[in-house]
């Protein structure tokens, strides 16, 4: 009996190499299964975060939000084109104002992935710069954010009410419904940028209409250059340009149709006229080929450093972004986006400008008051001046940039465009609100490559708007 048993054990199915490998393989196969879970577990997390000490009626102007003593403010700042040192600067000012308290600035380029577990766990940071390609969609976290109206109504460090020191309309992009949830710190001016010195040497004028742009394209070709170029991740800069031109042409009607994702919003005459002339310029070969395979900063350097193309549509961050890759004496300057016809609804000086870099304070944060206090410091004169001086970009705080623009032609040109536009300032948000950019990029890459007709472009962009409008799981934000 014993014999038999021992023999049968030796011929039993042994865990052969293959069975082991197969087990390993099943495990590996299931890895993607666990991927989104790397940090979830909704179960944990204390919901016991201290609620913010509501500012009392007669708040101390030096500490309007009643921040506790010896607070360490936890700030997570998007480390993008503007870096994080401007918040560190404000942190030092903050520490000077509140002995014992300090600011801990953590840079991040992956805001959503990094902060997702902290939001779920109920311990988000006190202040976040929710910006960049990996930012958190606002419709996802809106009900977990503080209303920042009390920051705007507080006195700044110099004693003036903050609201009175800001440019017009800068609170709009951070207002969702009736909640002012995000304070957008940096004023961004959108336009078409060029080299002042190159244009002067060749006697060229920056175009004001698309027809003039087309004529300039012929000039550029003669000089062995292109009119435009693009990079694959930034192909939608041309969508921004097209929308701007269409809004200038057709007025608010065009803007509202697009913002509210209306059916046929991309088929509007003004939009179509813009697409048509762009297509004409593409077909004439005035776009540098190969953009759909070029990394976008490499493409931008072909404009700012090698000057292979004359014009580049972008926001005003472009100067700081390309600081190290700009030809000496480039003299970057900007013009507002082109009008389509002389019968446009808006003046040629009308400008797309909005505030960017949304700063948010989560309600569950350990020190809501600390987050707001740091914002208050950032909106005061010293911090705002420091930002404009080091980043060569205006903040939402008025009267900071001197006439010489700290030596930057682009900054001077931005303030000039802003004052020329007066109250003719508009903006649109639907692309960011619904996170449409990623989906629109491939379409624009193909269009700029000359592979798509205007009809294809229109149809595919409309399909995205339609899908989001029809999807009931996506919260819509009505724009009027």
């Amino acid at each position: 009996m014993t014999r038999n048993t021992s023999h049968s054990s030796s011929s039993a199915p042994d865990p052969s190499r293959r069975t082991v490998l197969r087990a390993v393989m099943y495990t590996a196969a299931a890895v993607p299964f666990g991927l989104p879970l790397a940090a979830c577990a909704t179960g944990g997390g204390g919901e016991t975060g201290e609620t913010s000490a509501a500012p009392t009626g007669d708040a101390d102007p030096k500490n309007p939000f009643g921040m506790a003593e010896n607070t360490t403010v936890d700030a997570v700042i998007f480390d993008g084109g503007y870096g994080v040192d401007y918040v560190e600067f404000a942190g030092e000012v903050f520490a000077g104002l509140h002995a014992g308290s300090s600011v801990k600035v953590s840079p991040s380029t992956q805001i959503a992935t990094e902060l997702q577990p902290r939001f779920v766990g109920g311990n988000p940071p006190d202040l976040i710069d929710n910006s960049g390609a990996q930012s958190i969609g606002f419709n996802t976290i809106l009900d977990q954010l503080e209303d920042l109206t009390d920051v705007i109504d507080a006195p700044n460090v110099e004693g003036t009410t903050i609201r009175d020191t800001l440019y017009e309309g800068v609170l709009a992009p951070g207002t969702y419904g009736d909640k002012f949830a995000a304070l957008n710190y940096v004023l961004t001016v959108y336009g078409v940028w060029y080299s002042g010195s190159l244009f002067e040497d060749n006697g060229w004028q920056p175009p004001a209409t698309w027809e003039e742009a087309k004529a300039l394209g012929a000039e550029a070709k003669k000089a062995g250059k292109y009119l435009f170029l693009w990079g694959t991740e930034a192909a939608t800069y041309y969508q921004t340009l097209a929308i701007e031109s269409a809004i200038k042409e057709g007025g608010d009607e065009v803007r509202l149709a697009l913002e509210n994702l209306e059916p046929d919003s991309w088929s509007n005459d003004a939009v179509q006229a813009t697409f048509a002339i762009m297509k004409e310029i593409i077909d004439l070969g005035y776009f540098k080929p190969g953009g759909s395979g070029t990394q976008f900063t490499a493409a931008q350097a072909q404009w700012s450093n090698k000057m292979e193309a004359l014009l580049y549509p972008s926001g005003s961050w472009i100067e700081n972004e390309m600081k190290d890759q700009t030809a000496p004496d480039f003299q970057m300057m900007g013009v507002p986006s082109f009008s389509v016809t002389s019968g446009a609804q808006m003046a040629p000086t009308a400008l797309h400008s909005t505030a960017g870099e949304p700063f948010i304070v989560p309600t569950d944060a350990k020190s809501v008051a600390g987050g707001k206090e740091l914002l208050r410091v950032m909106l005061s004169k010293d911090s705002a001046t420091n930002f404009s001086k080091t980043k060569l970009a205006p903040t939402i705080v008025k009267d900071i940039v001197p006439a010489d623009g700290f030596g930057s032609t682009a900054l001077v040109s931005q303030t000039d465009m802003l004052s020329a536009a007066g109250s003719d300032i508009y903006t649109f948000n639907f692309v960011n609100t619904y996170g449409m950019n990623q989906e629109q990029l491939p379409i624009w890459n193909s269009f700029l490559d000359g592979k798509k007709s205007v009809a294809d472009l229109t149809k595919e962009l409309q399909a995205i708007s339609d899908r989001i409008r029809e999807d009931d799981t996506i919260d819509k934000i009505e724009v009027s």
């Binding site: 009996m1 014993t2 014999r3 021992s6 023999h7 054990s9 030796s10 052969s16 190499r17 293959r18 069975t19 490998l21 393989m25 099943y26 495990t27 590996a28 196969a29 299931a30 890895v31 993607p32 299964f33 666990g34 991927l35 989104p36 879970l37 979830c40 577990a41 909704t42 997390g45 919901e47 959503a112 992935t113 997702q116 779920v120 990996q134 958190i136 969609g137 419709n139 996802t140 976290i141 009900d143 694959t232 991740e233 540098k288 080929p289 190969g290 953009g291 759909s292 395979g293 070029t294 990394q295 990623q438 989906e439 990029l441 491939p442 379409i443 890459n445 193909s446 490559d449 799981t473």
Partner: protein, 338 residues
């Protein structure tokens, strides 16, 4: 099963029982400290780790796949199989599955074909006279071909992106220098017709060296007498490769196919480095990329979990297919070769 005291074991049984076993106690035996601690350390601990870090996340993923969890709050509603129903009609996800399947078919096929050819050349492809050996300098090739595998995937992606840059890249530089003017500013990663093949090429480039090494090890395990016999019978190199090498290392090829398939069905790092926005007309968008986008930029973790479950199913189906095809084409059954 029971031990018989005082009974002497035959010699054959001693060798089978293993060292230090002494008189047989049976397979289960008494619960001594020795056996309990053995089970705890070698069975309990791994099992616990497996349950906590592998099985539990799966269960969680499957659960969240049936909710509308946004990912940024602790609240969610149970929605049953709605997410899965939505997946089937989501054109973006269906497109991503299609692309992933293309990668899953071609990357393993091309990688294995190239790796196998090189492995054969290096081990048995040398001179037809004298001892069985590889081509001259095979040691050098073996080392060099492993280099790409040593580079991290993300570095491979970034490097190739620069090499393929339309205006300043090496590829177009060489092609235009050869007088092929149509490659002036040609966007390899920006054209629907080239983006996917080029992406495959980059992945294959990264993996060939490693799988070549795997096959070399397998071929070295084949007794050289078999090759000598075949040679005496007049078999050429092609014939030997096809009729001797390939059947004898079949198991290794199957394993390699499955591993490569799993890599190719994921591929997140490579596509994210080469074409982060999904490629021209989304022609290189893969499941994992769409999953990541849905979770983190669109804030739909429940739906993204459903994608994760779908991805796991696709991968398991792929593995099952490979096993079936191997079995049907004459591969041996489970017991392994004896």
């Amino acid at each position: 099963m029971t031990a018989i005291p005082g009974r002497a074991l035959p010699a054959s049984e001693v060798t089978l029982a293993g060292p230090g076993d002494g008189p047989r106690k049976g397979r289960i035996g008494k619960t001594s400290f020795d056996s309990v601690s053995f089970f705890v350390v070698f069975l309990g601990l791994p099992l616990a780790l497996f349950l906590i870090f592998v099985i539990w996340p799966f269960v969680q993923a499957a659960f969240y796949a049936m909710t509308d969890w946004s990912g940024f709050s602790a609240e969610f509603n149970f929605v049953g199989f709605d997410n899965f129903a939505a997946l089937l009609t989501d054109p973006r996800f269906v497109n991503a599955v299609g692309n992933s399947v293309m990668f899953g078919i071609f990357i393993p096929l091309i990688t294995i074909a190239i790796a196998l050819t090189f492995a054969i050349l290096i081990t048995v492809g040398g001179s037809a006279k004298g001892q069985i050996r590889g081509v001259r300098g095979s040691g050098f090739y073996r080392v060099v071909s492993l280099f790409p595998y040593v580079i991290p995937a993300i570095a491979v992606g970034i490097m190739w992106r620069l090499i393929l840059d339309p205006s300043n890249g090496l590829v177009n530089g060489v092609l235009t220098a050869l007088g092929l003017d149509r490659f002036q500013s040609f966007a390899w990663l920006g054209n629907v017709s080239t983006a996917m093949p080029v992406t495959m090429l980059v992945v294959v480039w990264g993996f060939v060296g490693f799988y070549m090494l795997l096959f070399i090890a397998a071929i070295k395990g084949v007794p050289s007498e078999i090759y000598e016999a075949a040679r005496i019978d007049g078999a050429g190199r092609m014939r030997t490769s096809w009729s001797i090498t390939l059947p004898l290392i079949r198991d290794n090829v199957q394993t390699a196919y499955i591993y490569l398939g799993i890599t190719a069905l994921d591929l997140f790092v490579y596509v994210q480095a080469l074409n982060p926005q999904g490629g021209p007309d989304n022609s290189t968008l893969v499941m994992s990329q769409q999953l990541f986008r849905t979770a983190f930029t669109e804030g739909k973790f429940g739906y993204a979990s459903a994608m994760g479950v779908a991805m796991a199913i696709v991968t398991l189906v792929f593995a099952a297919l490979v096993f079936t095809v191997n079995r049907l084409t004459g591969g041996k059954s489970e017991g392994g070769r004896r």
